[in-house]
């Protein structure tokens, strides 16, 4: 995003009423696959657009990291949704979600290998050929790594972004989860990434199960993730940050508190 939109939120049908009543909201994100390309917009989303709130389609099923070429019909849908919403950009993940015709049902990591970088770069370029707006790529939270990683995460992500000239959707909760589970320093990755490419930032909650931190999007945002927002903004404040919640929605007061905490951690005005 070229203009600073400040604090936003992931729009979901379950919290449409809450989102509609946020007076200072400048942007929201919607799961691209949940929007009909040409039919009616979901109730609440059209009103946000009429208010001038920027809405970014966030794809979850393109499988840009798949070894197979991305499905042209899925790219066409994403491009059509972006036009339907007059979106400033779209976003997707550096991940694969299906292989050999079988759906994984989740975002899976790809190897940090030259072969995998070539595959994801080719797929991003296929998508860019049809999209009329920029695409931002989101590194995922991975519970495991591939045995044949050749590149560290900073080099891997930087090479993909430079070769595709894509923007970065940085999920600080993913950065936190990966660092915590690998026993590395989260801020070390911030120092290796091209932060000036950040289009916007995801902030989400998680929980620990049996010694492993899971990026659930159904739990509260922990303080270390908010601290990472502050550490990021000290290096380079991104134009926009948003709360990403995907279930077990808390009361409105709790959602407002989390949005205010993101505003406080980043120095942007509150939107509540």
């Amino acid at each position: 995003m070229t203009t600073a939109h400040g604090v936003g939120i992931g729009w979901r049908p379950e919290i449409a009423g809450f989102v509609a009543q946020l007076p200072g909201l400048g942007f929201a994100e919607v799961v691209a696959e949940s929007v009909h390309a040409h039919g009616e917009l979901p109730p609440g989303l059209a009103e946000l657009r009429e208010r001038g709130v920027a809405v970014v389609p966030h794809g979850v099923k393109l499988s840009l990291g798949g070894a197979e070429p991305v499905d042209p019909a899925r790219v066409t849908h994403l491009a059509a949704v972006a036009e339907r919403l007059a979106a400033p950009l779209v976003s997707e993940h550096i991940a694969f979600v299906r292989a050999g015709g079988v759906e994984a049902g989740h975002l899976l990591p790809i190897p940090r290998s030259r072969e995998a970088v070539d595959a994801v770069v080719a797929n991003v370029r296929r998508a860019q050929a049809e999209l009329t707006v920029p695409i931002a790529l989101e590194p995922i939270a991975a519970l495991f790594d591939w045995p044949d990683d050749e590149l560290d995460e900073g080099a891997f992500l930087t090479e993909i972004l430079e070769r595709t000239d894509a923007l970065l959707l940085l999920d600080v909760a993913n950065v936190y989860a990966n660092a915590r589970n690998r026993g590395t320093e989260a801020t070390a990755l911030l120092d290796r990434l091209p932060l000036e490419r950040i289009a916007y930032v995801h902030v989400a909650g998680g929980a620990e199960h049996e010694g492993i931190y899971h990026d659930t999007h159904t739990d509260a945002v922990p303080q270390p993730v908010l601290d990472l927002v502050t550490a990021l903004c000290e290096r380079h404040r991104p134009p926009a940050l948003m709360l990403e919640r995907d279930g077990d929605y808390p009361a409105a007061a709790e959602l407002r508190r989390e949005l205010d905490a993101i505003a406080a951690a980043s120095g942007y005005p509150t939107v509540t």
Binding site: G66, A67, E68, F96, R98, A99, G100, V102, E103, A104, G105, H106, L108, I110, P111, S113, E115, A116, A119, L143, F144, D145, W146, P147, D148, H209, E210, I212, H214, T218, G247
Partner: protein
Amino acid sequence: MTSLAERQAALVAALTAGAAVPPGFDGRLVEAARVALLRKRAGEVARQWPELAAAFGRDWPRRWSAWAAARPTQGSLRDGWDLARDLRAGGELPAAAGAELATREALMAYEPGSAPRPRRAPAVRRAAGSVVVQFAGRVRVLRRPDAGPRR
């Protein structure tokens, strides 16, 4: 060295279809991802099939995972539908979940292996003691054995 496509397929099979974890991966972490994926799917199917999930109460995640562990997702609508039909076939569909299945089946035609599509003709469907009639796209529950609140 096998191709990236084959190795990605082997990993998906391990996570969704009960196949062995491919060589070189940390088995404990892949297992944690497999269990987390089933838990996430349990929540997604519960949103599509609230009465089915509610009928099992706290036992829902376990019942779901036992059924889904070797079945890759076809989307949460079809996953819940397939499970409900399997339960009905085994005489195990809870009465409280019957109206939900009968309503879906009255509204849509679903042949396993292809996407559900809206019915054009009127239909009467039964499941676990519930009877549902559909005419011109509108449904009415004629009989529901569960005494719980109607939706």
